[in-house]
């Protein structure tokens, strides 16, 4: 029989090995993307200004044609536009659902809403994209205008996809409010709605902000569903009904046809590096918000 001491050690070292493994993998990926992502500036001699501020895209163009053109501004602007617009649709709805579940109808309403939201999370993004391309795109084309493939279509699909994140994280945050602040508010003669709006929601605000940042970061990273409905035209997003492009969809579209070590491949790594960088910023933001919360309590 194995002694307690030995089994303790086995447990300790196994978990330690797991931790080391996952840290090494994460670090390797970060180092790889950073290394590959910077090649365009160090090896191919593209200036930062060229990458971030110009809009012409043709990395295959030869120097004789004036290339390579690696203006990534349309993709960065496109990702920002579609994510923020999706958030604009989704945040009020998601917070509303959260208030409904946590404060207003904690009984039957919650029993119905909880599984519905969980179901939403389980639907793969390709299905959202498929519905988008089959229902939403023709609807926009026939009833609103344009060719259907548009910023609007992408934002609506994304809004549906990030809704469960906002709703569930906000709900948890509202539920985590101590009961005595609600009771205290009601004891002062404040109405139920005022209590929710003036006391419960502000108290849960760090959690709700975390939900929003998480949703934004998911919106930024989503590739497939957006790519299917957004039209992928390489241009700055100037119209709600016009097609546009995103950082994730340019990577998925071009990666298979580019060759390692060429400018066209390097620039995709740089865009991947940008995505990683942006997600770091989001993580930092969440940590800052949460630090504020613990300090407050």
């Amino acid at each position: 029989m194995v002694s307690v001491d030995v089994s303790n050690k086995i447990g300790k070292y196994t978990t330690f090995a797991c931790a080391i493994l996952i840290i090494t993998i994460t670090m390797s990926i970060i180092l790889l993307i950073t290394y590959k992502g910077l090649a365009i500036f160090t090896r191919d001699g593209v200036s930062l200004k060229n990458f971030f501020l110009t809009t012409k895209w043709n990395p295959d163009a030869t120097p004789a044609e004036g290339g390579p053109f690696v203006g990534a501004a349309p993709f960065i602007a496109g990702s920002v536009a579609v994510s923020l617009l999706a958030l604009l649709f989704s945040a009020p709805l998601g917070i509303g659902i959260a208030i409904f579940m946590a404060e207003i109808s904690t009984g039957w309403g919650c029993k119905i809403m909880q599984p519905v939201i969980e179901l939403f999370v389980g639907i793969p993004s390709v299905v959202y994209g498929w519905i988008g391309i089959s229902v939403l795109v023709p609807f926009i084309r026939n009833h609103i205008g344009g060719m259907g493939f548009s910023l609007l279509a992408g934002a609506i699909v994304l809004a549906v996809m990030i809704l469960p994140t906002i709703a569930s994280v906000s709900t948890d945050s509202l539920r985590a409010n101590p009961a005595d602040i609600r009771e205290g508010s009601l004891a002062l003669g404040v109405t139920r709605w005022q209590t929710i709006l003036m006391v419960m929601v502000p108290a849960a605000m760090p959690g709700i902000l975390t939900a929003i940042v998480l949703a934004l970061s998911r919106a930024f990273g989503e590739a497939l569903a957006v790519q299917m409905v957004i039209g992928n035209a390489i241009r700055m997003p100037t119209s709600l009904l016009g097609p546009m492009h995103t950082m994730t969809s340019i990577i998925t579209m071009e990666m298979s046809d580019t060759v390692m070590g060429t400018v066209s491949n390097d620039v995709l790594w740089t865009i991947a590096f940008m995505l990683l960088f942006i997600s770091f910023i989001f993580i930092l933001l969440i940590r800052t918000i949460n630090r504020g919360r613990t300090a407050m309590r």
Binding site: A17, L21, N58, F149, D257, V259, T262, N265
Partner: protein
């Protein structure tokens, strides 16, 4: 014990990171060459090989590989897509046995990377300009086509159709199909950026053209001719048919290449011989490609 476990973790993550670097691994062929197999196809070799690349060529390679494996039960041929760029990159690195491409290696790779690659042209594929079935135009001159793709003409009424906006649907800049279309239909002219939607696969292009009124794009003939949801256009009055391509009347076509690193050996050689042989010809025609020997015109890179 501690250092052993950490060592294992490190080794594992190095392997994982390595496989990311190589973008996929493939098994090396283990073949037993038979002497005197130079004439005809050798069905006695055993082993396993991997081909990857062009999605335009993939259906043919897949079916030919199945036929081959029925004759040679000891052979295992794995056929993957991934795109022409992937096929060329991986064969240049030596991580696969055959790299399939719509383009000449020199059009994608640097001359250093392409060195040592051997080209086997297996067939020819044509490309057709396709439009939404609602478009009333049947023919475009090359000049009109160029003006549409460069954004100078934006309405079908300017080329003899009804008053309807033209929606251009493109493939990504790195696509082999787009490169062929740009080279032979647009005479190398730069397409206007931002006017076109982009779809990343043949299937997605077909679906988008079928569903978007006034849209125009291009598809491989092997795909377009069997697809009733889009309409093929004539170019300068010439129908995009295989007959017109072999006789040199219709210019938009490209070779489908299978590249090997160095001269093929063993199973790789047997399979490439098989692809070039008479047994695959009916398959080539059935799937809408053109047999290389039918061509009365030829091209170099």
């Amino acid at each position: 014990m501690f250092s052993g476990r950490r060592g294992l973790g490190l080794a594992l993550s190095v392997v994982l990171a390595g496989s990311i670097l190589l973008t996929g691994c493939a098994s090396k062929s283990q073949t037993s060459p038979t002497p005197g197999s130079s004439s005809g196809v050798d069905f006695t070799v055993s082993g396993s090989i991997t081909t990857a690349g062009s999605s335009a060529l993939q259906p043919l390679v897949e079916q030919a590989a199945n036929q081959f494996m029925q004759k040679d039960s000891n052979a295992k041929i794995s056929v993957q897509a991934g795109g022409s760029g992937t096929g060329l990159a991986q064969i240049a690195q030596g991580s696969i046995d055959i790299g399939n491409s719509d383009l000449f290696a020199g059009e994608k790779l640097t001359s250093a990377q392409a060195a040592g690659l051997v080209d086997h042209k297996v067939c020819v594929v044509g490309f057709a300009t396709v439009v939404n079935p609602g478009v009333t135009v049947d023919n475009l001159t090359k000049q009109q086509l160029q003006q549409i793709f460069t954004g100078k003409i934006t309405n079908w009424k300017d080329v003899g159709g009804s008053d309807q906006q033209i929606t251009v649907i493109n493939r990504p800049t790195s696509s082999g199909t787009r490169a062929t279309f740009k080279k032979y239909a647009l005479d190398g002219l730069e397409e206007a950026q931002g006017i076109a939607l982009t779809q990343d696969s043949t299937g997605a292009v077909a679906k988008t053209v079928a569903g978007t009124p006034g849209s125009i794009s291009y598809l491989a003939l092997s795909y377009a001719s069997s697809n009733n949801t889009v309409k093929m256009l004539k170019l300068d009055g010439v129908d995009p048919t295989n007959d017109n391509i072999t006789s040199g009347k219709y210019p938009i076509w490209s070779y489908e290449h299978m590249y090997t690193k160095g001269d093929p050996q063993g199973l790789t050689k047997a399979f490439i011989d098989y692809m070039a042989g008479d047994e695959v010809k009916p398959l080539i025609q059935q799937l809408g490609y053109i047999v290389g020997s039918d061509m009365k015109v030829s091209r170099n890179s």
